[in-house]
């Protein structure tokens, strides 16, 4: 049951309310389904809708996205074309118009595909949690807490960002395997969703691909190396066994396109 819903109009007021024990509300697409159950415990919410945290800013190759920006706003911003396949793989249109970028960092796997992409993009997150901190999204998602105000990343070189999500349906389904990668000339970063309780940074895959061209030989070999880092679980979408079997196929499709 909701006992109070605060709608502060700046971050300082939001922080004060959160410090008093209230729960932050982004788009509500994860939290409100729990609270719509009449048996939910008494809960005080702080909506971030009017806290001045929405907006997309580009400065050269640097992209900064306010935490309360919706996935729908990301989808419809032509400057963020590289994230278009990412956000469109998440949920459905009327959910994306509520769900926020900051909230996605708190989504439990096998949800949170934008966070997977942000790990691959080496994105950083600004968090207010007893002071303002900046840390990598990769670190943050291992134990998400505090008030996220912004994520930032550097746009990768054209064509270097790869993303593919395998799901039971083409639209509006949770991940079976999500692959996000930046294949640079000097560095390779690969992040995986759907194959563990946490987002996985696929170090073994990266090591196998470092300095290598992407070919029908190198990518399957990298997938083979990456199997040891998967920690898939059974859920209503797929079994752990299936996720393991699908991973090499979808890594190949993500990186080679076939």
């Amino acid at each position: 049951m909701l006992t109070e819903v605060h709608v502060p109009d700046d971050v300082a007021a939001a922080v004060r309310l959160l410090e008093s024990g209230a729960t932050p509300l982004g788009g509500g697409t994860s939290l409100m389904p729990l609270l719509n159950d009449y048996a939910s415990p008494p809960t005080e919410l702080v909506s971030l809708r009017r806290a001045g945290l929405a907006g997309i800013h580009l400065d050269g190759a640097t992209v900064r996205i306010g935490a309360a920006t919706t996935l729908g706003q990301v989808e419809h911003d032509p400057r963020l074309a590289i994230l278009d396949p990412v956000v469109r793989s998440i949920a459905s249109v009327p959910v994306r118009n509520l769900a926020t970028v900051g909230g996605n960092l708190f989504a439990h796997q096998p949800h949170g595909d934008l966070a997977v992409a942000l790990v691959a993009l080496a994105a950083r997150v600004t968090v207010v949690d007893g002071g303002t901190h900046e840390l990598t999204v990769e670190e943050f998602v291992t134990d998400p807490r505090g008030l996220v105000t912004e994520v930032a990343f550097t746009q990768p070189a054209d064509g270097s960002f790869k993303y593919l999500k395998a799901a039971r349906r083409r639209f509006n389904s949770a991940s079976i395997v999500t692959v996000a990668a930046v294949i640079g000339e000097s560095a390779v970063r690969v992040a995986l969703g759907g194959v563990g309780n946490q987002i996985i940074r696929a170090h073994a895959v990266e090591a196998a691909l470092a300095g290598q061209p992407l070919t029908d030989e190198t990518v399957p070999a990298a997938a083979e190396a990456g199997l040891s880092e998967l920690a898939p679980v059974d859920d209503a979408y797929a079994s752990a066994w299936y996720r393991t079997r699908v991973f090499p196929v979808h890594l190949r499709r993500a990186l080679l396109g076939h």
């Binding site: 109070e4 709608v7 509300l25 809708r49 469109r88 249109v93 118009n97 639209f171």
Partner: protein, 163 residues
């Protein structure tokens, strides 16, 4: 617990109502404003039967605490028809037998309206994506997709005819 006066513009009309913290936008529309077109299906954001337009964008209104959208512009299925004159999308649904039990229809119509406002000439695949959050257990979707494509064509033809 604070009860808040919320102001909304709903289908072009200014409305005000009292909302408890737990009053969702859906609950306010249905029980306080008497607009029962949007339906409470799953209350989880999964079925889309509560879809309305919030400042022009389709949202699942069951997940929106009403007090967080004070001042917003809301469009519901009740605002589509002009008196007895159905909107293009409504008429195309009627003509194409795109509704059976009707429970999903208000949400489908609002998702379709939002799509056509953004994209007047969508492909079938774009329609599929636009209604991917709206569950229908009767029709098998094909008549709905056809009706939305038909509505788009009617609307384009009318726009051309007026030029």
């Amino acid at each position: 617990m604070t009860v808040t006066i919320v102001n909304l513009k709903v289908n072009g009309v200014d409305q005000a109502f009292m909302a408890r913290p737990g009053t969702t936008l859906l609950l306010a529309l249905r029980e306080q404003l008497g607009l029962t077109g949007a339906k409470r299906g799953c209350a989880q954001g999964a079925c889309g039967s509560c879809t309305v337009l919030l400042d022009g964008a389709p949202v699942v209104s069951c997940l929106v605490p009403a007090t967080t959208v004070d001042g917003a512009d809301i469009a519901t299925v009740e605002g589509l028809a002009d008196g007895q004159q159905l909107s293009d999308v409504q008429q195309a649904f009627l003509d194409g037998f795109a509704t059976q039990c009707g429970f999903c229809t208000p949400g489908m119509l609002m998702s379709a309206e939002a799509l056509l406002a953004r994209n007047p000439d969508p492909t079938a695949d774009e329609v599929n994506e636009a209604i991917s959050g709206n569950v229908c257990r009767c029709t098998g979707y094909a008549p709905i997709v056809s009706a939305i494509l038909d509505a788009a064509e009617r609307r384009r033809n009318r726009v051309e005819a007026t030029h």
